[in-house]
Subunit: 552 residues, 2 copies
C-alpha cells in the first residue's frame, strides 16, 4: 500500500507509542493537521503555542515520546521556550512544523511568516534539539523522519521535523531499514570503572544512591532499584526526579537539593562517604543553588554522558552497561539507619478549620487530601519547593520543570498528562504569576472534557522573587481567578482563605470528577521553609547589599 509522507510520519510515530499529539494549526500546516486528524493519533488543539510545547513535554515525560505540531515560524518560534525546557531537562518531544514548499523557496522571495531566510526556524531549533530535518525531498523523507526519531529516543532530547505543506500528500518512498548497532562500552574501561566503584561501595560506611531523572527517561529506574535492594543502600531523589521510586519504599530517604533539602536528608547525603549519583545532571538546582557540600572524591557519578568514580573519569563507558555491571556484582549488603521519617501529616483539627491558610498549611492539607493515584504537577516557585516535603506512594506521579524553571509549565503539562492517561487524576499547583502566563489553557481542558484539579497559590504577585529583590515589578494585577469557571462555562471554582475551606474544596475535588480550580489565598510573605532558604541564597547572589548585611 502506498502511503503519503504525512500518513507515514504519523503511523510511524503511532507505532513508537504516541497516541496523542498537541498543536495549533496555521496555513502552512493545514495539510499536516488534516492528515493528523485522519491518523490513529488523537489530536489536542490548544490556545497558544507556549502551552503546546509544555503539553507535549508533559505527555513525553509520562509516555516516553511526545509530539507538538505547529505552523511555520509564527507557531514554531512561539513554542521555542517550551522546547528549550524539554532540551534542558531531557524530555523527548518531536516538533513537527509546517513549512513553505520547495517551490516557494526558489528565488528566496519574502513569504509571510518568513523571518530572515527560509532556514531561520530550522537553525534556531538546532540550538534546542538533538536533530533536525527539513523534508524537501520525497525520496529521503521517510529516512529523515526515522533518523530524527531515533536521535530523539536515544538522547531523550527534542527533535525538529519541518514538513512543507505540499509534501504532506506526496507518496512516500519506504525507507531501507538500517540496524544501527547501539554504542558499545570499552570493555577494559567498563571493568576498571566497576571494580573501582565496587571497592568504594564496599569500603563505605554510609553509602547513598541519588536516583536522578535520566534513569526515568532511559527506562533504567528498575535497574537502579535492583542495585539499591541488592546492596541495601538508601535512595534519595532530586527535585527533578521526585517520585522516581515510591516515597513509601523503606529505602527512600527524601529529596536532596543541597541546602534546600530537609535537614535530615541533607545531613545524611553530605555525611555519606559514598554518594552514588545515577542519571544525575549536576545542576545548580541539584546542588541547592550551590549550597551542597559534596566532596568529589566521595562521589560516584554515572549518567549518559560520563562515568566518574571519585576523581577518575572513565571514557566510553555506557550508562546502561555500568548499571548492569553494578547490579550483577556481589557485595555484602550494607546496613543503614535513616534519619527519622517526617512525621505523618497531622490531621486537620476541627478547632483549626477557621484558621487562615499559609503556605505550609496548604501543603499539609493538600498532602492529607491527595489521592494515592494522583499525578502532581508543580509550577516554578513555591509550588515546587513546598511540594518537596509531600510524600506519595506511586512512582512517576510527579512532574515539574525543576531545572529549567520556566514559569507557566504546570497547567499545560497537566493537559499533556491527562492526554497521556485520560483516566488519570492530575493535580496542578501553580503560583498566581505563573497562572497568569498559561492558566487560560484550561480552555483546552474544557474543550476535551478533562478534569484537572488546579490549585492557584495566590500570594499576590511574584512571591519567589520578593525574597530575592522586591519592588513594584513583582506586583501583578489581582484576578478574580474563580471567574474562569464562568468564562469557560466549565468545571467548578472556589476561593479559599481558611484551612477548613481548603480541606472542603479538596474533598469536593477528589469526589467530583469535574475540573476544579481552587484559588488558595495566602499572605504575601508566606512561603515554605525551602523557598525561604532559596530566597536568602539568591538574594545574596543577586543583591550585594543583602550579603553585606541587609539594607535599611
Amino acid at each position: 500500500m502506498h502511503h503519503s509522507i504525512g500518513s507515514f510520519l504519523f503511523e510511524y510515530l503511532h507505532n513508537q507509542g504516541v497516541d496523542a499529539a498537541f498543536g495549533i494549526p496555521g496555513d502552512f500546516a493545514l495539510p499536516i493537521f488534516r492528515c493528523l486528524e485522519q491518523s490513529p493519533i488523537r489530536l489536542y488543539t490548544m490556545t497558544h503555542e507556549p502551552s503546546v510545547g509544555f503539553a507535549a513535554d508533559g505527555y513525553a515525560r509520562m509516555r516516553g515520546l511526545g509530539v507538538a505540531c505547529v505552523t511555520y515560524c509564527v507557531g514554531g518560534l512561539n513554542m521555542l521556550n517550551s522546547i528549550a525546557c524539554a532540551y534542558a531537562e531531557k524530555s523527548p518531544v518531536i516538533v513537527i512544523s509546517g513549512g513553505p514548499s520547495p517551490g516557494d523557496r526558489r528565488h528566496d522571495p519574502l513569504l509571510h511568516h518568513k523571518v530572515r531566510t527560509f532556514d531561520t526556524q530550522r537553525r534556531i531549533f538546532e540550538e534546542v534539539t538533538c536533530a533536525t530535518a527539513v523534508l524537501l525531498d520525497a525520496e529521503s523523507a521517510a529516512e529523515e523522519i526515522m533518523r530524527v526519531a531515533a536521535a530523539v529516543r536515544a538522547s531523550c532530547r527534542p527533535g525538529y521535523i519541518e514538513l512543507p505543506y505540499d509534501m504532506v500528500d506526496l507518496p512516500v518512498k519506504h525507507p531501507v531499514l538500517r540496524n544501527i548497532p547501539p554504542p558499545e562500552s570499552d570493555q577494559e574501561n567498563l571493568e576498571a570503572a566497576l571494580a573501582e566503584a565496587l571497592e568504594l561501595i564496599a569500603a563505605a560506611k554510609q553509602p547513598v544512591i541519588i536516583a536522578d531523572v535520566e534513569l526515568h527517561r532511559h527506562g533504567l529506574t528498575d535497574r537502579a532499584l535492583e542495585i539499591a535492594r541488592q546492596f541495601n543502600i538508601p535512595i534519595a531523589a532530586t527535585l527533578l526526579s521526585k517520585s522516581i521510586i515510591s516515597e513509601n519504599n523503606p529505602l527512600y530517604l527524601g529529596v536532596y537539593s543541597g541546602g534546600l533539602s530537609e535537614a535530615g536528608v541533607q545531613a545524611y547525603v553530605e555525611g555519606s562517604d559514598c554518594v552514588i549519583m545515577l542519571g544525575a545532571f549536576i545542576t545548580d538546582v541539584f546542588l541547592g543553588l550551590n549550597t551542597a557540600k559534596l566532596e568529589r572524591r566521595h562521589t560516584l557519578l554515572a549518567n549518559t554522558e560520563k562515568v566518574r568514580i571519585g576523581l577518575h573519569a572513565y571514557e566510553n563507558v555506557q550508562f546502561a552497561d555500568f548499571l548492569l555491571g553494578l547490579a550483577r556484582a556481589k557485595l555484602l549488603p550494607k546496613s543503614f539507619t535513616l534519619p527519622p521519617r517526617p512525621e505523618a501529616l497531622k490531621p486537620l483539627g476541627e478547632n483549626e478549620r477557621e484558621e487562615k491558610l499559609d503556605a505550609e498549611a496548604f501543603f499539609r492539607i493538600l498532602g492529607l487530601n491527595l489521592p494515592e493515584d494522583a499525578t502532581l504537577i508543580c509550577d516554578t516557585g513555591d509550588a515546587l519547593l513546598g511540594a518537596m516535603s509531600l510524600r506519595t506512594s506511586k512512582r512517576n506521579n510527579f512532574l515539574a520543570d525543576a531545572y529549567y524553571l520556566s514559569m507557566g509549565f504546570a497547567v499545560p503539562a497537566a493537559i499533556g498528562a491527562l492526554a497521556a492517561y485520560p483516566e488519570g487524576r492530575v493535580y496542578a499547583i501553580v503560583g498566581d504569576g505563573a497562572f497568569q502566563m498559561t492558566g487560560m489553557e484550561l480552555s483546552t481542558a474544557a474543550k476535551y472534557g478533562m478534569a484537572p484539579v488546579v490549585c492557584i497559590l495566590n500570594n499576590d504577585g511574584y512571591g519567589t522573587q520578593r525574597h530575592v529583590i522586591d519592588g513594584p515589578f513583582n506586583d501583578i494585577h489581582p484576578w478574580r481567578y474563580t471567574k474562569i469557571q464562568e468564562l469557560l462555562n466549565y468545571g467548578q471554582a472556589v476561593r479559599v482563605t481558611t484551612k477548613g475551606g481548603l480541606d472542603q474544596a479538596l474533598k469536593q475535588a477528589a469526589a467530583g470528577g469535574e475540573m476544579m480550580v481552587i484559588e488558595v489565598v495566602i499572605p504575601r510573605d508566606s512561603c515554605s521553609r525551602a523557598l525561604q532558604r532559596m530566597g536568602e541564597k539568591l538574594g545574596e547572589l543577586r543583591d550585594p547589599d543583602k550579603k553585606a548585611g541587609g539594607k535599611a
Copy 2:
C-alpha cells in the same frame, strides 16, 4: 558623576526617546528591573513574554524605538516569536535580557535556565536581530550598548543586549564617542538612477506611488509625499503601511495588495505604466498572495536595500539620497483621474438595528463610529483584511503585523500604543482565536488604568483557516468573552449580535473613557470580501483538491 552600567543603559535609551519599557522580571534580571524602576523610563510589567515583545513592538512602531526587558532564556526565548515579527517587519525593538554572571560561566556548569551553552540565547537572537552584545566586560559595556542601539536605529531591526546580573551596578566606563559617517551613495550611480527614473516617470501616462512601510520606519514619509505632490502622482498604501498618509488626502488611492485589493485600486495600480514602489518589501502579502499582476519593466523600486528602475539595478544608491533627488527634480505635474472613491459609509438605518451582524456590517459600523484620532490595531485574519476598506484621516494610526501575520499581536500592541501615547485612543480588532492567545493581556491594561476598546470578532474558531482547509482543528472552545470584565474586575464588556447593539456599544466606548471589550458575534461563515479572495487563493495552494475543482 559615576554611573553604573545599568543606569547608563537606561539613561542612554531615554535620551534616544524611549520613555516606556515593557517586561517581566526573573531572578537573573531583578537587578536590571530595580535599576529600570529608578530610571526616568516608565516600566510596564506584563503577564507573559510573548506579549512583552508585541507591546514593545507596538510602542516602537509609534515612537521609533522600543524596549523589552526579560530574564535569561525562560523569558527571552519565550519572546522570540514577537521579536522575529519585529525583525520581519522592521520594527526597532531593543531586547534587554538578564544573564548569568561572568563568574557563573566559568567551568560551564549546569545553571538553571541554561539550555545548552551559556551562549545559546545569544546565538538564537542573532537569527532575529541586527546586532547582539553580551556585556561581560565593564570596560566595553557602554560602547557595546551604543553599538547595538546604533545598529537598531540604522536598520530598524531589533537588537539584543544581555546584561549579567552582577554587572548592572558596576561603574560604567564612559565611551569614546565615535562619529561614524553614514553610508554614502555612489554619485555616478545615483545620478544615473535618478535620470532613468525621471525619464520613466516623465513618459508615464498613469504613474502611481506605492508608499510602503520603510518610509515610515526611516522617517521619510514626508519626502515621499513631497514627490507625490510635486509630480501630482497618486499614492497607494499597502496592508503594512495603511494610514501612512491621511486616507482623506486627495492623492490617496487606497490599499494595494494584488488580488486582495478593492477592484478599482487593483485596476489602477496594475494598469499603471510606472509603479513607483517606495520603501516597499516585495512580500507575498504585498503581492496579494502572488495574485499581483505587475510587470517588472513598468516598476521602479527603491528601499533601504536596493534601487531598481525597470530591469536596471543600481548599486550603492542610498534610499534617502534617491528620494531627495526625486523630490528636487523638476517635471511637469501629471494629471490623473482616480477611480471613484468608495462611497461614504451608509449611516445605520433605524430599520436595520435589529438585523444580525456579519463581518461586512461590523466594519461598516466600526467605520461609522471610529473617532478620527483613534489608533486602529488589527490582528491577523479578517480583523486585518476587513479593515482594508476603512478610511481614516490621521496619519500613522494603523498598526498590524501585516507581513509576518502572527496571531495575538493586537491586544499587547494596544498596550504598547497606549504606553506610547497615554492620552491616545486605541481600538484593537482581534479574532476569537487570536484573542485566546494573548487577550488576557488586558490584565496589564487594568493594572495601569488603560482604556483600550477591544472588538473580538467571534466567528466561532479559526475563521480564516476554514476558508483554506477546514476540519475540527479549526474549532476552539467558546469562551464567554464578556466575563473577562469580572475576572479582571475592570472596565466594561458587552456581547453584541445585532447592528444596533454594536452601534450602541461603540458609542458607549467612544463616550466612556473606560476599557471596553465588545464581543461581536458573527456567523461562522461570514467574512469580508478580501478574506474570501485570500481564502480561495490559499485554498488552491494548500489543498490540491480545491484547485482541481473542489471536493464533494
